[in-house]
């Protein structure tokens, strides 16, 4: 696998608590899975996707975990069209203005 170069901006995944280490009293569906963290930073050394890697974050902290994504991309958008929304304004204008 091609090595990701030192200094590349990446996303790191790290397990903070294993399922059996989780707090008491939380719902069973939550305590059945580990508590996981993701944090972005610059690679300290060349590393492979899916392998262990160390980064320094924007605030210059050092974190070690699994290298998950290179140049992590924001996924937010406006989603798929929801046709019901269209009807809300149409009806309100009809009630108010007869349009």
């Amino acid at each position: 696998m091609e090595a990701i170069k030192k200094g590349t901006w990446v996303s790191l995944k790290k397990t903070i608590l294993q399922a059996d280490e989780r707090a008491e009293g939380i719902p069973t569906d939550t305590s059945a899975v580990p508590l996981v963290m993701w944090v972005n930073g610059f690679l300290e050394n060349d590393a492979a996707l899916g392998g262990e890697a160390t980064i320094h974050t924007k605030m210059n902290r050092v974190e070690t975990g699994i290298l998950e994504e290179v140049n992590p991309t924001t996924s937010v958008n406006y989603g798929e069209f929801v046709p019901e929304i269209l009807q809300i304004g149409i009806q309100a204008r009809k009630i108010l203005y007869g349009l």
């Binding site: 903070i16 608590l17 280490e21 989780r22 707090a23 939380i26 719902p27 569906d29 939550t30 059945a32 899975v33 580990p34 508590l35 996981v36 963290m37 993701w38 944090v39 972005n40 974050t57 924007k58 605030m59 902290r61 924001t74 996924s75 937010v76 958008n77 406006y78 989603g79 798929e80 069209f81 929801v82 019901e84 929304i85 009807q87 809300i88 304004g89 009806q91 309100a92 204008r93 009630i95 108010l96």
Partner: protein, 468 residues
Amino acid sequence: MDYKSVMARKSEILKGSIGIDFTRFESGSVAFDYENMMDSIGYSFEEIQNIQRGLGVGNTPLIELRNITALARKCANQPGFGARIFIKDEAANPSGSFKDRRAATAVYHAKKLGYKGVAAATSGNYGAAVASQAAAQGLGCIIVQECFDSRKIGQPEILEKTRKCEAFGAEVIQMTVGPELFYKFLLILEETGYFSASLYSPFGVAGVETLGTELVQQMREITAREGKPRDPDAVIVTHAGGGNITGTARGLRRENCNAKVIAASVNLKGLHMASDKDFNRKSFTTGHTGFGFPFATWPDRSDMPRSAARPLRYIDRYVLVNQGEVFYMTELLANLEGLERGPAGNTSLCAAFSLAQNMREDEIIVVQETEYTGAGKHIQPQLSFARQNGIEIKFGDPADEIPGQNIILPEHPGKISVREVDLNPMRKSLIRNTLSRVESNLTAEDISFLAAETNRDENFIKEQVRQP
């Protein structure tokens, strides 16, 4: 560094990261000197105003919603009813919500004490506000967010907040569902020595008082131009952790305004806030009953030894609306008033639309916030995400909505209707929660403290203590 040992050091870590010694306000029993805590934070109201003004925070417009008012009047059952609805456009703050008022003072305080950075554990607008203020005041910033379920699927609204915090230069730590997020937060505080910019600090909540004073002054100016200055009859506040209603109500009192203080939350009955599976079955990540109820009945559950947000002291009336009704109102605000704003902030607007119909036309109700909108944090992506997660979306009677199963858009605006929350069981619950934490009998000071905490007289407290 294991979970239990870090959590055991919680109060020690927090004490070092806030710079307030809370013990001086404690009586040693139930009571603590709330007003003294709020007064002795080191800033006068005028100083807070100046800090905010210097950072472009506050002084947001108060806008009359004439067309939504006209629609409410058409829906009112009786002629002459349908109060004027005004909205305080808090989206005009630097990071797009009223939370800038809280963050501005918290970050200012951190800087004054010499901290190099600030940290906060929040998935909401407050994270963006802290990141924005840290940028403006030249401090480092780390925000810890609950973002994903165990499949790494995240609420679009929260992922937008990640983007926004990063846009302000902050480091964001994204976590899966669970209250142990606080463990990572404490580790970060220990590691960095950053200031804990809690939502519930005295300076944070005091920062919201300007919202209350501004809206009264603006209302007096607007009505003076019409002939006679007057105060609003009701102010409605979206309620979650309690800081918004506490700060706003304290601001109203500062102006000697006697408007009724109404809290509004989105009803998320049946969904567990710490459940991995429920996480993506809700469409509102704040302003809902999952925070609104527990924080009212036990304010000190927050990340502060003593929370400055104590909602039951100030709430005169508490109403609920459903997710579908709030989304619907968000669309009306855009279509009828030309104001495209974020859904969660419109919880109180939705309730106001219903409440206005039972108020006379010459009365005034003020909705005290809006919030920014954009990709992810908008009716379109939030409903689209709900549908992808198997939530049924349809027109109908909002009363039939079941959180986590469906979202019902009102088939007619007249179907929007608030559900009343009986405050007395909540007050009793606060008293029970307090009593469960003490072993000795209550002192006279404790009784009077609990009376203030619940906004009732001492007889109400004595009655509850007698019937545990």
